[in-house]
């Protein structure tokens, strides 16, 4: 077995960019990866790749990254990782938009959601959006509520029409409400969703 090469002899050893970005990685990578994993809906490999790419972007955009205050670097890296995941959702085929709004999708529309949704814990919500709803619906919901995109923007990005986006959003909303109701019930009346 050949000995490991001397790190000091590698190209770029001592480069200030490498030092700063390594320090940033140790400080922020855990949060950046968690951020990417949420966007990737639990796809660990996609999250890892997005994390790496975020730090490589910091290296390639060194003048910009260097000027960021330390408190903003984590947000900058998280955004890069998130955008990389979101970019992978971009539709390769765009359907013709049938801009018809669905009717009566949600029979509980008039009820007050706030308390129901506020009762949900992050763990249980994560389980719902990664296992109980279709992936496309989870992507649409992420763009809607995490990224604050418009319905039209989501439809264009995912290559579906607005009516389908609305249906997807309501699927996630219904699942969340159901979870909230179950969470709010007494322990002996809760449904099967653990």
């Amino acid at each position: 077995m050949s000995p490991a090469p001397d790190p000091a002899s590698r190209p770029g050893s001592g480069d200030p960019r490498l030092e700063v970005i390594s320090q940033a990685y140790l400080a922020h990578a855990h949060a950046v990866r968690r951020h990417a994993a949420r966007a990737a809906l639990g796809d660990d490999q996609a999250a890892e790749d997005a994390t790496q790419e975020a730090f490589m972007e910091a290296f390639r955009n060194w003048p910009k990254f260097r000027q960021l205050p330390p408190g903003q670097r984590r947000a900058w890296l998280c955004a890069r990782a998130r955008w990389r995941v979101i970019d992978s959702w971009r539709a390769t085929r765009v359907e013709h938009p049938a801009d018809v709004l669905p009717d009566h999708l949600d029979p509980r529309a008039d009820e007050d959601d706030d308390d129901v949704l506020a009762a949900i814990t992050a763990d249980r919500f994560w389980k719902v959006i990664t296992t109980a709803v279709p992936r496309r619906a989870a992507c649409a919901a992420y763009l809607k509520w995490h990224e604050d995109w418009t319905m039209t923007g989501i439809a264009n990005h995912l290559g579906i029409d607005r009516a389908t986006v609305l249906r997807d959003i309501n699927v996630v909303l219904d699942a969340a409400r159901q979870l909230g109701y179950e969470t709010g019930l007494p322990a002996d009346n809760k449904g099967g969703m653990a």
């Binding site: 590698r10 050893s13 490498l18 990685y25 855990h30 390639r60 999708l105 814990t121 809607k144 995490h146």
Partner: protein, 153 residues
């Protein structure tokens, strides 16, 4: 009913759902895969070393005569060429050479390049072309710095 149009009920729903996503961002979950920071850092530094190694390829020393062949990556084509009187430019070509310019041949073109002024005079079989090019544009083997290229947001 959630129509995607702004109304007070929808805003309350949006606020509650956005808060759920913020919770996800800010908290580790019991189902999260353990994160190996050292392995990730090693992978990252390997990639950075690789890019730094590509950056550190030595550029051609300025002012050193060299002959280009078709096998080498060609420099960017002259950008501000004009066709002019062949005699005037032939004299200019010889003048640049006489003042210490560098002789470069590329296919049917022969050029005299002045390091100090950045003037390149190229002579072709069918005529004489001249062009003013910056020394950076004329550099053949050296790559422009990545920082400058990728500074755009």
């Amino acid at each position: 009913m959630y129509h995607g149009d702004p109304c007070p009920e929808d805003q309350a729903t949006d606020t509650a759902m956005a808060a759920l996503y913020r919770q996800l961002d800010n908290h580790d979950l019991s189902t999260d895969t353990p994160f190996d920071a050292q392995a990730g850092l090693q992978r990252l530094t390997d990639r950075i070393h690789h890019e730094l190694g590509q950056e550190s390829q030595p550029p051609a020393p300025p002012g050193h005569p060299r002959t280009l062949t078709g096998q080498e990556p060609a420099s960017p084509g002259p950008r501000r060429l004009r066709y002019s009187s062949r005699w005037v430019d032939l004299i200019a070509f010889l003048a640049v050479l006489a003042l210490g310019g560098v002789l470069i041949t590329l296919g049917r073109f022969t050029a005299a390049y002045s390091v100090t002024t950045g003037v390149t005079i190229a002579v072709a079989l069918h005529g004489v072309w001249t062009g003013l090019r910056s020394p950076k544009e004329t550099q053949v083997a050296g790559k422009p710095g990545r920082d400058g290229d990728e500074d755009a947001p």
